[in-house]
Amino acid sequence: MPKKKMLLMKGNEALAEAAVHAGCRFYAGYPITPQNEIPEYLSRRMPEVEGIFIQAESELAAVNMVYGAAAAGARAMTSSSSPGISLKQEAISFLAGAELPAVIVNIQRGGPGLGNITASQADYFQAVKGGGHGDYHCMVFSPFNLQEMWDLTMRAFDKADQYRTPVMILGDGVVGQMMEPFHPTPYKRPRLPRKSWVLNGAKGRGPRVVRSLCMGTGELEQRNLILQKKYELMKKQEVMCEEYDTKDAALIVVAFGIAARIGLSAVKELRKEGRKIGLFRPITLFPFPAKQIAALSGKGRRFMVIEMNAGQMVEDVRLAVNGKADVQFYGRPGGVVFTPEELYGKLKSAYGRRG
């Protein structure tokens, strides 16, 4: 078997290069740690592919440049970290309302407020429940290694175009900053609907309108119903998750992103010692793999949710389980990264506890 070509890069750079591979030719950003490698990399890379790099004067400006570029039909991306993503929320709501495809990257850091610059998962609610005003969701991907930083970034652009929706990549300071080898999967463009709505000049055709302002009677409700239909379709078609040793597990650990990566080390260790423990990892956080979790509940199983926050995804797990299983939670808020040893201890005692 021929050896796979591997790349060694920083997570943020892998994401940036994957975007270029996926045909992203418009990027607007603004400095904030720990995502600076994305704008820095693209400031060098975009000119090489005749793409556009713009450093804006603020996060607001960057995301609104993406709004403009998306309306003109470009595959457009912006990135930031938690406080900067808060500033972008108005425009993300506009993107969702106007049904414009765009990729928004959040390399999360500790919050609230200015918080700190270490990795965190405290923006889960903001990412999956809407974030800005109005009834909308972004599709949200949660990479847990650099292979996924690469693959999910390319997928994010396709899904944004397919559903005409903003897609968020919810990373964190660890996956953004770490280096590890990954296979640079070549980009294969799927069949996507033609962008028949693009604002590219009305010469020879009728005018088009892209907007989120719907003032006519009932117009806004109709727009909302269209959005809701889209979200229902995503729930049917786009859920991604991964299970490790869940079949015979008495205790299932549920974690996303880097928490799952660290959790997996602890779970593997406990398995080796003969404990029936498994891990369930949502890869899409919206749509959330509620059905898959529901299917695992019952049969006397217990769940343990681990997150690098004060307990956010655990709410969705509890909704999915719907009372059919005991759901415990262990979290570290404030930009604290778990150690595998710490999780080993927590999971061991959770396993030992007879529910």
Binding site: Y30, T33, N36, P39, E40, R44, P47, E57
Partner: protein, 310 residues
């Protein structure tokens, strides 16, 4: 409450910005802060935008600030201070406070020229009684030397990297001092830590003027400028003597040059010691170097004319 500006007198004063902060060695920003706070005996309240100065001076549980100090997000130093200053005026009006307190906002060029510009402009237009002091090091140094709208033409930064295709930043810096003057506020000035007396006098003067004031101060950053750690004062002096950073003030619309270089030096004297301009000295970038000099000459001539007519 003006302090006597002699080194002997100043050395007797208690530090209002103390040692123990974690700014890089050789950084210009803490020198700017020290001079600004030294210049007055008034009680002061500081608001600080996010940036090197803020993160390095308030590492958890510690503070280098010997004065009341408030920090909010990157874009809000002027807005937050507007709130503080307004509350102070209200308390005064209600008779709950009678002390004369002065308000100073500190922000870097990213937090002042770019993301904080809106709140700065708003605070100046509303007429809050404060001094906004920008320490301008010409890039987002705190996040890793990304270009800002204060980054000079031709400089190499991590988001306008100099290479074989693009010779660093392609745009000239924005003249924020003049933009602030266009707000028609009572006092606007430019200062440099190399001319500390001139700077301190400007701060003193500003404190005695009611209303919004703006002082733009050059603050060398050896990390971003790729210069020697002991060159902050030398480089800020060169900035003045090459007329890259003229020292002047605009008081009630009247422009006055406060320090005229004895001999105007060529801009290369300022650029050469800085690694961020290294590529400008290769033959293919000669044109850019001329452009930089021309721009400085033009701006300086303009300023001379303004000072003369005023």
């Amino acid at each position: 409450m003006a302090t006597t500006l002699t080194l002997k007198e100043l050395s007797k004063k208690e530090d209002r910005f103390t040692h123990g902060h974690r700014m890089c060695s050789g950084c210009g920003a803490p020198i700017v802060v020290k001079i600004a706070l030294m210049a007055t005996d008034y009680p002061v309240v500081i608001s600080n935008a996010t940036g090197c100065l803020e993160v390095s001076s308030c590492i958890s549980e510690f503070t280098a600030w010997n004065v009341p100090w408030i920090h909010t997000a990157f874009e809000n130093a002027a807005a937050t201070l507007s709130g503080v200053e307004t509350m102070y005026r209200s308390l005064k009006k209600q008779g709950k406070m009678d002390r004369e307190v002065k308000f100073i906002a500190f922000g870097g060029d990213g937090g002042t020229y770019d993301i904080g510009f809106q709140s700065l402009s708003g605070a100046m237009e509303r007429g809050h009684d404060m001094i906004y002091i920008c320490y301008d090091n010409g890039a987002y140094m705190n996040t890793g030397i990304q270009r800002s709208s204060a980054t000079p033409l031709g400089a190499d930064t991590t988001t306008c990297p100099a290479g074989s295709v693009i010779p660093g930043k392609l745009r000239s810096r924005k003249n924020l001092t003049k933009i602030m003057a266009a707000h028609n506020i009572p006092y606007v000035a430019q200062a440099s830590p190399s001319h500390w007396q001139d700077f301190a006098k400007k701060v003193q003067k500003a404190h005695e003027i009611k209303g919004p004031k703006f002082i733009n101060v050059i603050a060398p950053c050896n990390r971003g400028w790729r210069s020697k750690t002991n060159d902050a004062i030398l480089l800020s002096r060169l900035a003045v003597n090459t007329c890259y950073w003229p020292l002047y003030e605009i008081e009630n619309g009247t422009t006055k040059i406060t320090v005229t270089p004895k001999q105007k030096l060529p801009i290369v004297d300022f650029l050469k010691p800085q690694g961020r301009f290294k590529h400008l000295f290769s033959p293919e970038n000669e044109g850019l170097l001329t452009q930089v000099q021309d721009e400085i000459d033009r701006e300086w001539e303009k300023l001379l004319k303004e000072a003369k007519t005023d």
